[in-house]
Amino acid sequence: MSLLRKLTEKPWTTTGQLEELPDPYVIAANTKRTALFVFLGVVSSLFFLFVMAQHQREALPDWQPITALPSILGLNTLLLIGASLAMQYAKAAADGGNLAGLKRGFVAAGLLTAAFLVGQVIGWQQMTATGQVIQVNPANAFFFLLTGAHGLHLVGGLYVWARNSVRVLRGFGQDDADQARELRLSVELCTTYWHYLLLIWLVLLGLLLVT
């Protein structure tokens, strides 16, 4: 049933009608997916508002673009793209039942992400070393604010990653279909989250380059 049909149901005329129940596993998986999507909605709202705030602040006369972005940002971006690809690889491996590939991809994704975060901190140091501290001009302030907010979201992601890697490394027995399904779902959710945070990073980077 489409959403529109659901929302136009005349409930006083459908008394007695029932639908079939789906498999409980499907329900559990959809529940987690829904929660993740709702959470990504919250994250989108947060970054949208940060970006809109910057947009408004830019219009004021004292705004100057950042003179020199830290050179390491390019490398960091590659690292984060790598992390996303590794997640995708892990997910594909999980779907194909390839446990070794899953372990490789999942662990690599986490390490690349951690490297990205270290790189971001180095970027901050490059900024402050050249005297471009947070107070100097509003563009700098937004730079620290936005990279910080994005980084914190990745730290949260890494927390979930760490909890799951224990399970990934332990693996699952051939006959334990339940565990395998659950693990696959976790990897799928991580993948979605990583892609989304990569997307946010690309948008933020784009904004940094054009302003």
């Binding site: 049933m1 659901k6 929302l7 136009t8 149901e9 005349k10 409930p11 006083w12 005329t13 459908t14 008394t15 007695g16 009608q17 029932l18 639908e19 129940l21 789906p22 409980p24 499907v26 329900i27 559990a28 959809n30 529940t31 829904t34 929660a35 709702v38 959470f39 909605g41 919250v42 709202s45 947060l46 508002l49 940060f50 705030a53 408004q56 602040r57 004021l60 006369p61 004292d62 705004w63 947070i134 107070q135 509003p138 302030a141 604010l145 907010a149």
Partner: protein, 588 residues
């Protein structure tokens, strides 16, 4: 489509069954216990805010009598009163309290889908309350910036609590938002994924619809408050200039330069206006169900009611700047926001008509919940109409920052939701506790609260039209304000004290009834929705015993012709009513 909670999988069920007192009542993951924890905490801080308002009223009526209320304290009281009432009482009580209690019970689920996160939500909320109240005890006291916390004054010396106070306020808000997000993810996901079999979206009671859409608004709007709080902390602690313009402080140039206080206002009200509906939509939903139940009639225009909730929720994101007409905005902006504001009146009016049409020729039982629901109709219509005044730029300009505004928003988002909160507490009290409250005390509570609140806020409109400004410690000698205004202020204060004291009747009634009240029938109001059909009252952990309910109809089958009784619970199969099977639509 999905209908079974994660928590319904067998192997998880016994794991979660609480064993000890601590896991049952303190670190509980049961949505009903969490709901009650949320409610009690919210009511407790609400009482603090009520006392603060009483002290403000004393000061306004008797300006030179109370030496412990200096201007500094007055501003601190205003700020804490406003913020506590809006966020820590109403938002927490309607969503954390009623949302938690009603969603799983009304949707036929065992619990919220993520019970652990739900528990965490309450404890983080409690932390935010503690941080907030801690600001009474830090150097400089709580912030006195007004509940809108506008910079630059909020973080500039000279404003009460510009150091510690405002930082604790912002920290507390940020923590609150984290708590709300954890709860909100649960409410939304539970509604979408954990409804029992047969509970289609359009068979959900309107209470669930109101809470659901309000939660979505909260999830999208609270980030705006979060963003503004973080940026203000940066300005204050790190010396950035997001919001702070170049400013002279006692003759000295500060380090701030070029920031925009208006930017803060946009962010704040992008949250602040939806916040009004975060409080109002659950109230709308709940009052619809109460009116239908106590008038023994199906709700008039169910689908319109659902769509109106959704449309109001959507529109509430594009009206925020009607709080900023006096900020010097472009007149075309003002025109745009006035238009969108007036458009919201359309779905809102539809709801009001439908409530009244539900009452029309209904079999109205003037129970305590019904009295409060009807009280809500009065205060809400009243506040809604003055909102139309203020939505127009030319009318708002002279009335802005006067007592007319104070009268308006107390009517529409102060007293109206409070009426519904009381109605809801009385309505669900028998289910929550298994006991009945004292009806006479309930009626006394209603009449004194309703008439008392009216005599507080109705005169304020008149004061506002006279030009009495809002947020003033005392009027001093002001030519355009006649002497009689002071007489009116004294009258308002007497009413406020009366209303404050009358709440004791409520507290006593509740406290007494929990232990000594008559045993309640499991379904004393003969209502249809699922929470009244639980096998135990109060419902046990897991709510439904061994089998989840199955839903065959909407929640509004009251006085159906030919039915044996004047109500048909949602889980009654058609065959149970018409053994011959005359009913259209068969289970398949």
């Amino acid at each position: 489509m999905a209908y079974v909670a994660i928590a319904d999988r067998d192997h998880e069920q016994h794991l979660h069954d609480p064993q000890t007192f601590i896991t049952k009542y303190i670190w509980s993951q049961d949505h009903k216990v969490i709901a009650i924890q949320y409610s009690l905490t919210a009511i407790f801080v609400g009482l603090v805010a009520l006392v603060l308002s009483g002290m403000m009223r004393l000061q306004l009526a008797f300006p030179d009598v109370f030496s412990f209320i200096a201007p500094i304290e007055y501003y601190q009281f205003i700020t804490m009163h406003g913020m506590i009432m809006v966020i820590y009482l109403l938002t927490a009580l309607l969503l954390g309290g009623f949302g938690n209690y009603l969603i799983p019970l009304m949707c036929g689920s065992r619990d919220m889908v993520f019970p652990f996160m739900n528990m965490l939500s309450y404890w983080v909320y409690l932390l935010s309350v503690i941080i907030l109240l801690a600001s009474f005890f830090v150097p400089g006291g709580p912030t006195g910036a007004g509940w809108t916390l506008y910079p630059p004054q909020a973080i500039t010396d000279g404003t009460p609590g510009a150091g510690w106070g405002i930082m604790l306020m912002l920290a507390s808000l940020a923590v609150f938002i984290v708590a709300f997000t954890m709860g909100g993810l649960n409410y939304v996901t539970t509604v979408l994924q954990a409804r029992c079999r047969g509970m289609t979206l359009m068979r959900m009671p309107l209470s669930v619809w109101g809470i659901f859409v309000a939660t979505v608004l909260g999830l999208l709007a609270f980030p705006a408050l979060f963003v503004s709080a973080v940026m203000m902390v940066f300005d204050s602690l790190l010396g950035t200039s997001f919001f702070m313009p170049a400013i002279l402080d006692r003759g000295e140039q500060t380090a701030f330069d070029g920031g925009s206080p208006i930017l803060f206002q946009h962010l704040f009200w992008f949250f602040g206006h939806p916040e009004v509906y975060i409080v109002a939509l659950p109230a709308f939903g709940i009052v619809s169900d109460l009116i239908s139940t106590h008038a023994r009639k199906n709700i008039f225009g169910y689908r319109q009611m659902v769509w109106a909730i959704v449309v109001i929720g959507g529109l509430s994101f594009i009206v925020w700047a009607h709080h900023m007409y006096v900020s010097g905005m472009n007149p075309y902006f003002g025109f745009f926001f006035a238009t969108t504001t007036l458009i919201i009146a359309v779905p809102t009016a539809i709801k009001v008509y439908n409530w009244v049409l539900t009452l029309w020729r209904g079999d109205i039982h003037l129970t305590v919940p019904m009295l409060f629901s009807i009280g809500f109709l009065f205060t809400f219509i009243h506040g809604g109409l003055t909102g139309l005044f203020l939505g127009n730029v030319v009318v708002d300009l002279p009335l802005s920052d006067t007592y007319f505004v104070v009268g308006h928003f107390h009517m529409v988002m102060g007293i109206s939701p409070i009426m519904v909160v009381f109605a809801a507490i009385y309505h669900w009290f028998p289910k929550m506790t298994g006991r009945m409250f004292n009806q006479t005390l309930g009626k006394i509570h209603f009449w004194l609260t309703f008439l008392g609140a009216y005599s507080i806020y109705l005169p304020m409109h008149y004061l506002g039209i006279l030009g009495v400004p809002r947020r003033y410690y005392s009027m001093g000698t002001t030519d355009f304000v006649p002497e009689s205004a002071q007489a009116m202020n004294i009258g308002i204060t007497y009413s406020a004290i009366l209303v404050g004291v009358v709440q004791l009747v409520f507290l006593v009634n509740i406290a007494w009834s929990i232990f000594r009240g008559e045993k309640a029938d499991p379904n004393p109001w003969k209502a249809n929705s699922l929470e009244w059909q639980t096998p135990d009252t109060p419902p046990k952990h897991g709510n439904w015993g061994p089998d989840l309910p199955v839903v065959y109809r909407w929640a509004y089958d009251y006085n159906v012709p030919g039915a044996p009784e004047d109500f048909i619970p949602q889980n009654t199969p058609p065959d149970a009513l018409h053994p011959a099977g005359r009913d259209h639509g068969k289970a398949h």
